[in-house]
Symmetry: D2
C-alpha cells in the first residue's frame, strides 16, 4: 500500500481527495492535517464520509509523521506549501501540490500575481507541471508535482490541438469560462452565499485573474511562442463544474478538426472528444475525472469554437492529483478514478 498524507484537508479539494481515495485499492491515508480543526474527526466535518474514515482525525501538520508517507498532497492556500514541501522532499517524500505554489516557472511572476515573494524558488526547477496529457513521462519520474488549476486544465486541453498544430492566430485567443462556486473554496464569504450567488450570473476578475499567467505559460509552451489570451471567468449558480468556451481565429485551412482532436487525445483515459457539433454539459462529468470536449466551426467562418467541460474539484484538482499519484507509483492510471459521473 502507498502511504499518503494530506496537508490542509478541511477544504473542498481535501474532502474530494478522501472521497476518491476511499475507492483506491492501493492507497492508505497515514495522516490528514489541519490547524483549525485539529482533533476533529473527518466524518464530523464531512458526514458523507461517515463509515469510511471513522478513525481518521485532523492533526496539526507534523513533518516527522508526514515524512513517513510515500507521498503528501498539499490542499492548502497559496504560499503554505513552499517551506514544508522542501522539508518533505529532503526526507524523500514525494509531494503533489494542488495549490498554485509551483505552477509558474518564474518566481518573479509568481510574486507579482500572489503579492508575496516565492518561498521556495530553488524547487521550481524540479517541479513538474502535472498535466498528464502533456507531461506524462516527466510525471512518472517527478518528486514534486504542481497540479494544474481548474481553469488552466479546461482551457489548455481545449486549445492544445489547435496551438500545437499552429492553426490559429496566437495573438487573439479568447477563453470565456464559467465555474461553479466550489471554485471559490469553502471560505465563508458573502458573495458565495446561496442568497447571493444563486439565481444570478456574473463575471469576475475580467481585468486580470491569477490563473491567467498559468494558462498563458501552458498555451505558450504548446504554441512554441507567446500567446495573447483574453480570459474572463464567470461565477455560475451551481456547486461543481467548469465550462470553457474557447474562441480561436483560423490562420490556415484546418482540415478535419474532429480528426485533429481525436488523434491528439487518442488513448487518453480522461479526455473524451465528443462528436463534432456536440454541446457537452458540466453535469456529464460531475464527480468524475474527465474532460469532455466538442469542436464547432460556426457557419464555416474562420472562427473555431471549442467547448470543454470538467468537474473543477476532480479533473480540475483532486482527481488529476490522484492521476499524477497513479503515474508516479506505477498504479493503473484509472485506479480510484473509474466511477461514472453522477447524473442526474
Amino acid at each position: 500500500m502507498i502511504k499518503v498524507g494530506i496537508v490542509g484537508g478541511t477544504g473542498y479539494t481535501g474532502v474530494e481527495l478522501l472521497r476518491l481515495l476511499a475507492q483506491h485499492p492501493e492507497v492508505e491515508i497515514e495522516a490528514i492535517t489541519s490547524r483549525s480543526e485539529s482533533g476533529v474527526g473527518v466524518s464530523e466535518l464531512y458526514p458523507n464520509l461517515r463509515g469510511h474514515y471513522d478513525d481518521l482525525v485532523f492533526s496539526p501538520p507534523d513533518p516527522d509523521r508526514l515524512g513517513k508517507c510515500d507521498a503528501v498532497f498539499f490542499a492548502t492556500p497559496h504560499g503554505v506549501a513552499h517551506a514544508l514541501a522542501a522539508e518533505l522532499l529532503e526526507r524523500g517524500t514525494r509531494v503533489i501540490d494542488l495549490s498554485a505554489d509551483f505552477r509558474l516557472r518564474d518566481a518573479e511572476e509568481w510574486a507579482h500575481w500572489y503579492g508575496q515573494p516565492h518561498g521556495a524558488p530553488a524547487l521550481l526547477e524540479q517541479a513538474v507541471y502535472g498535466l498528464p496529457e502533456t507531461n506524462r513521462e516527466q510525471i512518472r519520474e517527478a518528486r514534486l508535482i504542481a497540479v494544474p488549476g481548474c481553469y488552466p486544465t479546461a482551457v489548455q486541453l481545449g486549445l492544445l490541438p489547435l496551438l500545437e498544430s499552429g492553426l490559429i492566430d496566437t495573438d487573439h485567443v479568447i477563453a470565456d469560462c464559467k465555474s461553479g462556486v466550489t471554485g471559490a473554496g469553502r471560505g465563508a464569504k458573502v458573495p458565495s452565499l446561496l442568497a447571493e450567488a444563486s439565481e444570478s450570473m456574473k463575471a469576475y476578475g475580467a481585468s486580470g485573474h491569477r490563473h491567467l499567467p498559468e494558462i498563458r505559460q501552458g498555451l505558450s509552451d504548446a504554441a512554441a511562442g507567446p500567446v495573447g489570451l483574453t480570459f474572463v471567468p464567470h461565477l455560475t449558480p451551481m456547486i461543481r463544474g467548469i465550462h470553457a468556451t474557447l474562441y480561436g481565429r483560423l490562420t490556415a485551412e484546418p482540415g478535419d478538426l474532429q480528426t485533429l482532436f481525436e488523434s491528439r487525445f487518442a488513448g487518453e483515459p480522461f479526455v473524451d472528444v465528443m462528436p463534432m457539433g456536440s454541446h457537452p454539459e458540466t453535469r456529464s462529468v460531475k464527480g468524475a475525472n474527465l474532460c469532455r470536449i466538442a469542436v464547432h466551426r460556426p457557419g464555416d467562418s474562420d472562427t473555431v469554437v471549442v467547448l470543454a467541460v470538467i468537474d473543477n474539484l476532480v479533473k480540475g484538482a483532486s482527481g488529476q492529483a490522484i492521476h499524477n499519484l497513479n503515474l508516479m507509483f506505477g498504479c493503473d492510471e484509472t485506479a480510484g478514478l473509474a466511477a461514472p459521473a453522477l447524473m442526474p
Copy 2:
C-alpha cells in the same frame, strides 16, 4: 458473472442502475430495453456513461433474450411489469421490480389507488417486499422482489424502532416528507421545469398520495396492528434526496431512544444512526445507498421527532434494488454500493 437485464431503462432509476452496476464486480448487463429509444445507445441518452457502456443499445423488450438473464430489473411505470414478470418467472429468471406493481399485498387496494385492475394477482403471494432491514432472509430466497418506494423506505426506517417497541400512539403518526424533483421522474411536465420548480416549495397530494397505502402496510406490520398515518409530501427545489420528518406521540417512557435505534440497526450496512440531536442533510447521502437517521425529543415533551434522509434514486430505488440482488445471489451486500456520497 450474474447476467442481468433492465426493462424500461430510459428513466432515472434505469440510468442509476447502470451508474451503480458499472462498479459491481460480479454483474454484466445482458440487455436494456426501451420501446421509445430502441436503437439508441445508452451513452447517447446519458453522456455521463460515455466510456462505460459504449456498445450497450436500447432494444425492444424481448422475453427470449430477457429470459436468458439470471435477474431482470423492472424500472417501468406502474402496470407494466405485471405480465412480463410472470413470463420471466416461468422461465426461471428472478425479477426485481422497482415499480409499485407488487408492493401492496392486497390486489383490491392496488386497483383502488392505481385506477386499474391488478394484472398479476396470483404473483402477489410470492412477491417479497425488498426492504432488507426487515426482510433480509426472505429476500435471499425470493424469486420476485417488490423494491420499496422512496418515501416508504425513509418513513419505515425512521419509524420501525418506535413501532416495533410499541412506544408511540399508533393512531396519530405524522410523516412530513420533502423530495427532490427526480422523484417525479423524467417525464416532460410543466411543474417539473426548472423555471417552475426551483426557488419554490410546495406540498402535493396532501389529501392522499399513492405511497400512503404502502407506508401504512409496512408500519402496520411493524406495529402488529393498524396505524393511522398522515403523510404530506413536498416538492423541494433540488435534484435528489428525501428528507422525512416523522412525529410520534410517546405512550410510555421510552428509555434511551438513541440506544433503541442503534441496537435496531446494529450491523446494517446501509443505515447510519447519527448521534442524538443531529440534523442529517440529504446531501450527505447524495449518490450513496444509505439512510441516515437522527432522533430528537424536543423539550422532553411526549413528542418524538425522527429525521431520516436518503437519496431517492439510490436507497430509495436503484441502490436498494442492487442490495436485493446482492442478497439473492450471495454477493457481498455492499458490492457496487460502497462509494461515499458526493459532497459538496
Copy 3:
C-alpha cells in the same frame, strides 16, 4: 411625507425595506444607519437600488438625526434596539422593530432564549405585537411595534382560525416549517454557502428554536390557554420563502373548514385563502406581502392539515413592517405593497 429612518440597513430586511419603500407614495428616507458600512452608498452595496437612492449613504446611528424622523425601523440583530428605541420614543419618534427585542411579553423568557438580560423591560408593556390580522386597532395607536418573526407569522395565520374556534387539541400542535436561506441573514457562515446549502435539505433547531416561545405566545392568546407546540424548521435550497405545514387533531366536528378560514380572513388585504385542497407555492408570494393558505382534511380523518406560505422577507419581515407603518400613519394599508409576486 412621512420621514422614516432605518437602523441597521445593510442586512436583507434593510434592503427589502428600501426596495418596497421606493414604491411608497408617502414616505421619504431621512437616514439609514450602519456602523460597518458608514460612508458607503446604499446602491454600492445593493446594485439593484442604483437609480433609486443614489444620494443615500449609510451613516453611523445618530439619535439626534433619527429623532427627527416620524418613524424609525430597526432592522438589527436582537439586543441592539433596546437602548436606542427607548431614546427615540422619548423624542416622540415611533419605533417599528423588526428584530426579536420586543416580541415576548416576558422579559425573563426573552433573557432565557437570547442568553442576555432584556435591555428595556419597561417598554414591553407599551410594545404592540405587529400582526395586523389580530392587532389592527392597537397598531393604529402604537408608539412601539414588535414586528412578528417570519416563522411566527406563517404559523399563527395558519392556525388562528382553528385555535380561536377551539376545534383542535391544543396539547399536540405540530408546525413543520421550511425556509429559504435568507432567513439566516446575510452573515458569512459556511452552512449558508451555495456549495453547502443548495442541492440539500435539512432540519435545524429541532430540539428548540428561538421562534418557539414567540409562536407559543401567539397561539396561546388565540386559544385562550396554553398550547403544546412541536416546531421543526428546515433549511430549504432557495433564496426566499417559508412553507408552513401545520397539523392539528380535531376534537369536534369542525363544520365547513373552508368557510371558517374565509370568514376569519374576510377583508384582510394580505391573506389569501385558496380553495380547499389547494397546494400554495412559496414562489406565488415571492416579493409580495401576502400569506396564502389552504386547508386539507386527508381521508376525512381527525387530522387537519393547513398549508401556509409567505415570503420571509416581506410578509415575514419588511412588508409587514410597512403594513404596520401604513396603519400607524393612516395611509392606505396597501401603500407600497400592491405589486404582484415575481413568478416565474
Copy 4:
C-alpha cells in the same frame, strides 16, 4: 385609459406583461387570448396574480374584440402573429409583437431561419424595430412594433457605442451569452426540467442560433456595414437573466471608453453604465426593465470586453414591449416600469 389586448397570454412573456401592467396607471386589459386555456382564469394558471385580475379569463382570439383595443401585444410563438396582426392593423389597432415575426427586414432570411415562408412580407416595411435606445422617434409614430429578442437586446446595447464609433474590428466580434431557462419558454421539454438543467452549464446552438441574423442586422446598422459575429448562447441554471460577455478588437486608440458609453446612453432611463471595471450581476436587474453595462480593457491589450446584463423577460421582452407602448401613447416612459429589481 389605454385599452390593450394580449394574444397568447399563457407563456412567460404573457404573464410578465400582466405582472408589470398591474402597476401601470394608464392601461386596462380588455382581453387576453389562449386557445389551449380558453375559459381558465389567469389567476388559476398564475397564482401570483390572485387578487389582481380575478375576473380576467383566457378567451379564444377574436379579431372583433381585439380590434376594439388601442394596442394588442402578441406573446406568441413565431409564425402566429403574421395574419392576425395584418387584420388588426387594418382596424386601426396598433400591434406590439414580442415574437420574431417582424424583426428581420428580409422576408427571405426570415424564411430561411424559421423554416417557413413569411406570412406578411408586406408589413415588414412599416414594422419598427422596438429598441428605444436606437429607434425612439420612429417608435412614437409606429403602428407595428417588432420587440427585440432577449439576446439581441443585451448584445446590441453592449456593442452599439463601439460600433457606432468605429473603434473595433467588425470582422471578428464575439458574443458569449448566458441565459436563464425561461428563455426556452414554458414548454414541457426534458432539457428544461430542473433535474436536467440545474447544477449544470452547457452551450447550445453554437453552430447557429435564430437570434444570430437579428443581432447581425442590428450591429450592421450600427457599424454602417457588415459585421462578422460569432454568437454562442449558453443555458445557465437560473430562472431569469441574460449575461452577455462581448469581445471586440480595438482598431484605434479608443480614448476614454467609460465616457464613450456614458455619453451614448446619457438620459436613457433603462440603461445603467456602471463604473469602468465593474461586474454587473443578472440578479441586479431581476424583474426590472434595465440593462446594466460595464466595460473592461484587460491588461490594456487591444481587446475590449463589455459585460451587459438584463432580465430576459423584462428588458428582453415584456418590459421593453411596455416601454414601446409608453412611447407610442405618450405615457411617461417609466410608467409601470419603475420598481427596483428583486434582490436578493
